[in-house]
Symmetry: C2
Subunit: 403 residues, 2 copies
């Protein structure tokens, strides 16, 4: 049996994602699609709009056969760490290929860019540091360095999907991981696009509309499959809300206002005295958005600040983060599977390189400890009884979905 | 000018407290009454039912001339540390005497008990440890040791007011502090009494009734002065609530469920593996009261567990607590004063041994840092705008009340 891996967030799953699943199956000639998915908090430092169970179920109904959880310690990170966690998870479960969406749909561009970068590593570092010293953010500095090396002529690294794709390819090639990288041309509208056009829209634009008035508009309905509509409705009926940063604002305020600056400086990615600015702006901030605006500078991208707030909320420390990034992945956590997924797991048993964890338990690895804190923080805004039920589901994983 | 010091909580101020103020003035022959008051959180490990400003104003209207804040690091503690912070504060502002309520009203009993204890310190320690090893709580073990020494024949140390009074006298005599200890006979009903009888009731019984139905009953009105009635009504109109533990339950759950057991073990007074039990019971607890019941054992009194939860909520660490208890008091913080208070401060300027802090500021002493975290935790359950206004008041201390 052949398997193809996808790296996804499904926040929420839309028509563009359906296209991705179908195309990945076609171009990879695989019998099994395995997605590794960010769970409670996402790469851009945001809580997932609905929980991992509903997103997993939707994925299984949309054609994914196995859903793995991308560990928190890798999901709320820059593209290189995000890619490392995702590719290592997919390697461990034995996929033959991965398939990601890109602007051009040509894998050649990614591979040749990687080789060019590898040859010019010294120059790249030089240009990168030069821009960083000018006070630019990492993504901007990195883009400048690529430009100086002439890499952007081949590959536009200003586009989020290309950045992630390049990180996947880099991780595979640099670590000689036996996975074939494949790409398909994205048919979605621009990732940053705030408008919904036709039956393809970005997850960002869908979330924005959903959270604006708390309703699923006609426009949204055109760009999502029915399973997503159902999961949005079911989750809200269960939990009373769709998760967004403002729901966590009071917890963040409580937390920051009872922390010392020394404690705050020990949180992952808080550096250069940012702890003092976070504490100083806390009292004035009247909303999460307002707090973010008070902190935003050229050096700190919106995304990086959101990631930092996520690590504060989940109490994720620099030291533990360093430890889990240095060690090899200790497990893969399975969120769900269907019959094809089960067949795959049986057929390829001996190729699966890591223990498959499903339940939270005592004396679990540090990586799973950190996951559990992220889970607790994610659900902490929900009423007691509802939270309790969702936490029980965390202990009953994985979800099995009949085909 | 002569001043007499009182150690108070006024949670809320009732008729028994009025009697105490009047009697203290009489027996001490003083021109000025100075109260040192627990502010955000109280000795038994509870949030104050209304904020320090309203309690300070009530105290000033009831005959107190200066109100000092008992620092958080001393207010939520066993009687010896509580007494140390209170007596040192009163010493620093130069009081000539202190006056506390006791069951018998005889200061001789306290002084002779102290001397007997001082002579038998070795024996006391022996009996104390013996009981502690049997798994008894500190108050029970201490009571047993007193009994073995025959001290309880003179002074019933099973009564909370006698325990505190004894701690005041012990602190004064052991440290040769030039303050005369005085006591008056309490006319209140029993501290633990849950019923309101006549026009004297314990603060506990008043709080219990207030919080039960959120109303000020006719019975309560009989046992509190009008100023207390006004402050209860004004504060609730402002803040929407009277503070109680259940209001903080969701914050405690969030906090504990995102802490590691190693972090929890660094919180003040968490020891003997209690951190594991707190984490293990968190998921099951459906209310603060329920959580407490799950943790209660013979060794851990209800009060000690409440104090521990307070330190978790305010993020007060063992190490910083040790530091502030080892150093001499760095300041006294004045919450309010009236004209007599001002006259006293002017007349006795040169006898005041510590800087009088009023405002929170940058680079403040550790003790005031800890206070600020307690303040932030205390107000954290209030809606944004209301909390902001109350925090502004914290920066505008002290309150001046015309006589």
């Amino acid at each position: 049996m052949k398997a193809c891996g996808l790296v996804v967030e499904y926040n929420p799953l839309h028509n563009g994602h359906l296209h991705h699943i179908q195309e990945a199956k076609r171009v990879s000639k695989s019998d099994c699609i395995i997605a590794v998915m960010s769970s409670s908090f996402l790469q851009r430092g945001e809580p997932a709009i609905i929980d991992k169970f509903h997103r997993t179920k939707a994925a299984l109904k949309a054609g994914v056969d196995i859903v793995l959880e991308l560990p928190y310690a890798f999901s709320v990170q820059n593209s290189d760490l995000f890619a490392l966690g995702a590719i290592r998870s997919l390697e461990a479960i034995g996929v033959n290929s991965i398939c990601f969406g890109s602007e051009s749909g040509s894998i050649h561009q990614f591979i040749s860019s990687y080789h060019k970068l590898a040859e010019n590593e010294m120059n790249y570092s030089y240009y990168l540091n030069k821009s960083l010293q000018l006070g630019l953010s990492f993504p901007m500095a990195s883009k400048n360095a690529f430009q100086e090396l002439g890499l952007t002529e081949q590959l536009d690294l200003g586009r989020p999907n290309n950045i992630l794709g390049f990180s996947y390819v880099k991780t595979i090639l640099a670590n000689r991981i036996p996975i074939e990288p494949l790409t398909i041309k994205r048919i979605e509208s621009d990732y940053h696009d705030q408008q919904i056009k036709g039956n393809i829209a970005s997850a960002t634009s869908i979330r924005k509309q959903l959270l604006k008035d708390g309703k699923i508009s006609k426009e949204i309905l055109q760009s999502i499959p029915q399973i997503t509509q159902e999961s949005l409705i079911t989750y809200k009926a269960l939990s009373t809300l769709w998760h967004e940063w403002e729901d966590y604002f009071h917890l963040l305020k409580y937390r920051v206002s009872t922390m010392t600056s020394s404690e705050l400086s020990k949180i992952h990615d808080v550096s250069e005295g940012l702890e003092h600015r976070i504490i100083a702006t806390e009292k004035r901030a009247t909303s999460f958005y307002h707090w973010m605006s008070l902190l935003k500078t050229k050096r700190y991208t919106w995304t990086r600040l959101q990631r930092i707030f996520t690590h504060i909320l989940t109490n994720s420390g620099k030291e533990e983060m360093k430890l889990v990034h240095e060690e090899t992945l200790p497990y893969i956590r399975m969120l769900g599977f269907n019959d094809s997924g089960r067949k795959y797991l049986n057929a390829r048993k001996k190729d699966i390189k890591l223990p498959i964890e499903t339940k939270l338990r005592r004396n679990q690895p540090l990586l799973l400890n950190m996951e559990e804190r992220a889970i607790n923080a994610y659900y902490s805004i929900l009423p007691g009884k509802i939270k309790e039920n969702l936490l029980k589901q965390e202990r009953r994983l994985p979800i099995y979905e009949r085909e």
